[in-house]
Symmetry: C2
Subunit: 310 residues, 2 copies
């Protein structure tokens, strides 16, 4: 199985209103809730493509209970560790124009709760083919949390993927994760400077992260697909045409494919093809954590991967 | 004791953000939750002025559990009846400019749940000195719900106050509640036409509601205080100067005072003085359901009530 870690899991709530007008009162016509957080989205995608997966992380309070109910409803195997504080919500207010987001702060985590989580992680990782560490860290979790978990996975000879940014990602690199999957903005959060734009710029930033410890760096470039700096060389993979839809969760779908590639030691070209196809199939599906199965089957036959000579 | 009824209870949530900008994502710096709904606010005020009170109504699901926790934390006696569906939240996003509100729809209520509530109400009303029926009706509750409850109270010789609007208020009038407390907008929701503005216009609308069945009509006029059409004559009561602060909950504080006046059969001038003072003391307190005790003590000594000759 694949293990996903979501330390800052959330209840994702969507309010539909006619038109958002500041300083006015709105009647919400519908309220939709789902379990969220990047690692949960990865687990949702793997569950849909029938890849055995267990979702762990930290949840607490009444919001944590609601997250667990939603995981059960989506048939995602749940091995979350309880914390005392209430889990966060993310609220999206959707109107005719677009979406307005409100991110609650995550629950504070105590040292004892973190220790309990590390013990749980060690046990689950022992029986995993790959571990995925995704998203931000709640208050109270050490800044080098991902480094600690990557080190445990390495001791157990289990490959690891980190999808994070800023200090959480930078600290993780010290423990030499097998793969990291930053977007351009997240690359810049570690290398400094402005976000890289061209393939050459992205590959240079990716190589900088490899120098700092990452085994491979798979950089996501939105509708332009993926660029990968790996021990076997550099690659570029892109869908034949831009897919329209909801880009939320596209990065998480790519991570799901990368985790499966790591778990079965698939070569880079096949793994990257799968990652681009699954990512585009997530864009084509209406909700984060969902993939359009037809689009996935169609795309993975026609995506091409090219070697990039630096 | 006084009994308050909140059929559409809510978890009132306040998000603080720097500046609300549509189509952007915001980090929420603080999340504050409290039990809400007009009847709950009345119970909170009565609890603060040490008047024995029990809050009943309908709550359900995980949000209902959170409402009950907040009631317990505020030491408000809770006799809510459970429903299967999840209670609603009201969300206020507060920024530097002001407040933006999002009202979730209430939970649907089944016929069996409504019957269970009516039975609970009858039992509680038997031992009450006054009953307060406040706020909107959730889906599934009959449109004449307040008329049914007022009729039960009348059979038990317990006086009743209704604070509602539109069809819920109009239907309640048929059962002859002892007092209704509309604001200008709520008066117009029954009489039709534009909201009455001057004292003469408000009194005319109030008399129209008395003709339709209300024993007395106490109309709230914001910072201008109250105008009352009663069997003993018409009155006007106003604070000596406008109180600055948060007007949310000022009407509920006035209802709390009216309920106490009914419970102890205090005469109209004293009851109206108390209602204006408690309402202004609620404006002076930062949160809905709270009153500023010092302001209350100061104001109730200096408010004057005048008889209005029509």
């Amino acid at each position: 199985m694949i293990l996903t870690v979501t330390l800052n899991a959330a209840l994702d709530v969507t309010y539909r209103v006619d038109e958002l007008r500041p300083q006015q009162t709105h009647r919400v016509s519908s309220v939709v809730t789902r379990a969220g957080g990047k690692g949960v989205n990865v687990a949702a995608v793997l569950t849909q493509i029938r890849e055995p997966v267990v979702a762990t992380g930290l949840v607490g309070g009444p919001t944590g209970e609601q997250i667990r109910h939603r995981l059960a409803a989506a048939r995602i195997a749940d091995s979350f560790v309880p914390v005392a504080a209430d889990s966060r919500r993310t609220l999206v207010v959707a109107d005719r124009t677009g979406a307005t987001g409100f991110w609650e702060p995550g629950p504070p985590v105590t040292a004892e709760e973190w220790s309990a989580f590390v013990a749980r992680f060690r046990g689950l990782a022992t029986v995993s083919r790959a571990v995925v560490l995704s998203g931000s860290l709640p208050a109270g979790v050490p800044a080098d949390a991902y480094a600690e978990l990557v080190t445990i996975a390495r001791e157990l000879a289990v490959p690891s993927i980190v999808d994070a940014e800023g200090t959480a990602l930078a600290a993780a690199l010290d423990a030499r994760p097998d793969v990291v999957k930053p977007n351009a903005h997240e690359l810049a959060s570690v290398t400094g400077g402005t976000a890289p734009d061209t393939v050459t710029e992205v590959l240079a930033a990716a190589e900088a992260l490899r120098t700092r410890g990452a085994g491979a760096v798979v950089a996501s470039r939105g509708a332009d697909g993926l660029v990968a700096a790996t021990p076997d060389g550099a690659y570029r993979a892109a869908p034949p045409a831009a897919v329209t839809g909801n880009p939320t969760g596209a990065g998480d779908a790519a991570v799901a494919a990368l985790a499966r590639g790591l778990a079965y030691r698939t070569g880079w070209p096949a793994t990257l093809t799968d990652a681009v196809a699954l990512s585009a199939a997530a864009v084509a599906a209406p909700e984060a954590g969902q993939v359009d199965g037809r689009e996935y089957d169609r795309l993975r036959k026609i995506i091409t991967v090219e070697t990039v000579t630096e």
